[in-house]
Point group: C2
Chain length 385, copies 2
C-alpha cells in the first residue's frame, strides 16, 4: 500500500508518524489520569485539526459512557452526560469497537441535536479506545477546521493515535485504583483498631471528615488534603498499645492513667515511622496533642514548631471529643464546643485553624455530611474526574 | 532533512516508524516490569538486528547500573553485574545521557573484555533510557547480525525506541513501588495490632515466613504466594476485638473465654471483608482454625470446604503456637511440634501441607531465616528482578 504513495505523500505521512511517535512518548510519560486526558485532547487537535473534542470513558458495570474531558466551546453543555452503550454515535462506536466518520450529523438518526445554543455540530469523527482487546472509552472530534468533513485520512490518523491513548488511560486508571485501594485499606484498618473503644465509635471517621473540611477552608490543595486525610485516619493508631482498663474506663482518667494515655502519640508515631509510605502523615500522628503555648504533648512544642497538619487535626479531634458523650459525662452542644475552641485560639489551638472552623461553623458548613461528601469526592476524583 | 531522502528510503523509514508505533503501544500495554523488559529486548532485536542485547537499570541511591535482562548467548556471564555510573561503556553512556556506537570494542580503553569464553563482543550500540529528563537505565545491543558494525541509522532507531521504553520502565517501577508499599503498610499495621499481646511478639511475622515456605514447597506461583503472605499477615487481625483480660491472660483460657477468643476469626473476616483490596485474603483470615474433621471454627467446615490458603496458615500458625512459650507453659521443641503436626494430619491438618512441612523440616528447610529470605525476595522481585 505504501508503494502507491507519491514522494510528497510519503513525506507527509512520515512527518505525521514522527508526531505520533512523540505523542506516544508524551502520553506514556505520566500515570496521572487528568494529565493524560488533557494532553491527549491537545495532541488530537494537533494531529487532526478540529473545533472541539471530547474523551468518554466506559463504565463497564453500568454499561454507560461517561464524559471525561472536553475542549473548546461545547464544554459546559455536555459535562455530566452519561450515554448507554449502543446509543447515540458515541455509544454506537463504543459498542461496535470501530471508528466512524459522520460528516452530516443532521442526517444521522442517532444524532440527538446540540445541547447548547451557541455551538453547532456539523461533522463528527469518533474512534474507540481499545486496550487489551476491550473498549475502554471513546475519543471524539467535532467539526474539522477549514474543511467540510473529516477524511478517511483523519480517521486513520486518529485510529493510530487511539492506541497509545487507550493504554495511557488504562495504565493511569490502574495506578489510580491502586492508590485508592491503599488509602481505603489503611483507613479501614485504622477504623478497625478504633473499635476497641466502644465509646468513641466513629471518632476516627468524624475526625477525618472535620479535618478535610478545615483543610479545604484553609485552601489546601488535593495532595495536601490526601495527606491530611490519611494522617487524620491514623491519628489515634497508637491507642492500640493502651490497655483496655484505661482506654475503656467509664470515668475520668487519674494522673497515672492519663500519662499512659498520652503515650498513644509516641506509639502512633513509632508505628507510622516504620512505614515508608506513611512518612508524610507522621507529623499529624505525633503532634495532634501539642498546644501553641507549649503545654501539649508529647514534645511540648510551641507555636512555630507545630506542623500545620497537626494543628488541623487538633481542632477536629477536640471538637469531636467535646461533642461526644462518654459514660461519665454528656457531650457538649456544638455551639458550646465552638465557643470552647474560640477560647483556646492562640493558647491551645492555632488561630488560623480556629478561624477556618468558625467560618464554616457559622454558615452551617461544619457539617458531617458535607465532610463525607468531600471525602467521597477525594476518593473518586481520580476515578471519575 | 526528510526532503533529501529517496522514495525508497522514505518507504523504508515509514515502515520503520510503523513498527516503532506498534512497539510503543505494546510497551505501554503492561505495567508489569518483567513483561516490559522481555518485550523490549525482543522488539529491539526486531527493529535493529543484533546477536544479543541487555537492559540495565540505574540504582540512583548507589549510583550504579545493575543488570536487568539479557537475551541470547551472553546471558549467564553478566547476570549480577553492577557497574558504577561513569565506568565502562554502559556507565559512561548513562553518565553522559547520550547514545554511543563502539564498533571496535577491543580498541576502546573502557572495554573490560568478555566475561565468558564462548561469546566474543565485536561491536556495541548503547543508548540511555531517559524518562522525565533523568537517565533511568541503558539499553545495549551487541554485534549487529550480518554486518561489521552498527550504523548511525541503527543509533537513530534505537534512540527513538528508547523513549517509549524508558517511560514503560518508569511506569512499571512506579506501579510496582506502589504495590510494594501497599503490602508493607498492611503488614506493618497488622504487626502493630499484634503488639497488644506481649507473649506472642513476632508471631505474625513468623507465621508469614512459615506460610511462605510451605506455599513454595507446595508449588504456589508468585501471585498465590503474594496472597498467602498478606493473608498470613492478617490472620489474627480480628484479635483487635478481644479484651486484654483474655488476650493477655497468663493462664489457659476457660470455656467462656475460649469461646470469645474464637470470635477473632469472624471479627477478622468482618474487618477484611469491608476492604475490597483484601478480598483475596479473606479465606485465610476466616478459616485458619478449621479442621479437616469438621471440629474447627468458626464454620465447622470439613475437608473439601477448607480453602488451601487456610490449610497452609493453619499448619504455620499451629507450629509457631506450639513452639512458643507462654507464661503458663514452655514451648515445645521443634521436633516435638513436628511430631504433633504429623499426628494431626488427616484429622486436624491437611496431609498435603503436613507432607510439605515434613519435607522441609527433615532437610532443615523449615527455618525462619530461610522464610525471611523468601519474604525479602518476594518484596524485591518487582524491584530488582
Amino acid at each position: 500500500m505504501l508503494k502507491n504513495l507519491s514522494p510528497a505523500l510519503l513525506e507527509q505521512r512520515l512527518a505525521e508518524y514522527e508526531t505520533l511517535l512523540e505523542v506516544g512518548v508524551e502520553l506514556a510519560s505520566t500515570l496521572e489520569l487528568e494529565r493524560v486526558l488533557e494532553l491527549a485532547l491537545r495532541k488530537a487537535e494537533e494531529v487532526c485539526r478540529a473545533e472541539t473534542g471530547s474523551i468518554w470513558e466506559l463504565d463497564e458495570e453500568r454499561q454507560e459512557l461517561f464524559f471525561r474531558i472536553v475542549r473548546g466551546q461545547a464544554a459546559p453543555e455536555i459535562r455530566g452526560l452519561r450515554v448507554p452503550l449502543g446509543e447515540g454515535i458515541v455509544g454506537s462506536v463504543a459498542h461496535r469497537g470501530l471508528p466512524e466518520v459522520v460528516n452530516d450529523v443532521a442526517a444521522d438518526p442517532r444524532w440527538r441535536g446540540d445541547t447548547g445554543a451557541e455551538f453547532r455540530t456539523r461533522a463528527i469523527l469518533t474512534v474507540p479506545l481499545i486496550a487489551h482487546g476491550r473498549v475502554v472509552g471513546v475519543l471524539q472530534l467535532l467539526n474539522p477546521v477549514g474543511k467540510e468533513g473529516f477524511s478517511a485520512d483523519d480517521e486513520r490518523r486518529m485510529t493510530l493515535f487511539a492506541g497509545p491513548l487507550a493504554h495511557a488511560i488504562e495504565n493511569a486508571r490502574l495506578y489510580a485504583a491502586q492508590k485508592r485501594q491503599f488509602v481505603e485499606t489503611v483507613t479501614a484498618l485504622a477504623e478497625a483498631i478504633e473499635k476497641r473503644d466502644p465509646y468513641t465509635g466513629g471518632h476516627v471517621h468524624r475526625v477525618v471528615c472535620y479535618s478535610l473540611l478545615l483543610g479545604r477552608q484553609l485552601g489546601l490543595d488535593r495532595e495536601a488534603l490526601a495527606r491530611l486525610r490519611l494522617s487524620a485516619a491514623l491519628h489515634d493508631v497508637g491507642k492500640i498499645a493502651i490497655p483496655d482498663r484505661i482506654l475503656n474506663k467509664p470515668a475520668p482518667l487519674d494522673e497515672a492513667e492519663f500519662s499512659i494515655m498520652k503515650q498513644h502519640t509516641l506509639d502512633g508515631a513509632q508505628i507510622v515511622s516504620t512505614i515508608k509510605a506513611l512518612h508524610d502523615v507522621l507529623p499529624g500522628v505525633r503532634s495532634h496533642h501539642e498546644r501553641l503555648d507549649g503545654r501539649g504533648y508529647p514534645d511540648g512544642l510551641t507555636d512555630p514548631e507545630i506542623p500545620q497538619i497537626a494543628r488541623i487535626i487538633a481542632v477536629a479531634d477536640t471538637f469531636d471529643a467535646m461533642t461526644t458523650s462518654r459514660p461519665y459525662r454528656a457531650g457538649m452542644s456544638p455551639s458550646t464546643a465552638a465557643a470552647e475552641l474560640a477560647r483556646g485560639a492562640g493558647s491551645q489551638h492555632c488561630p488560623r485553624v480556629v478561624r477556618a472552623f468558625r467560618e464554616l461553623f457559622e454558615t452551617g458548613g461544619f457539617d458531617l455530611d458535607a465532610g463525607r461528601r468531600l471525602l467521597a469526592s477525594l476518593s473518586e476524583e481520580s476515578n471519575q474526574g
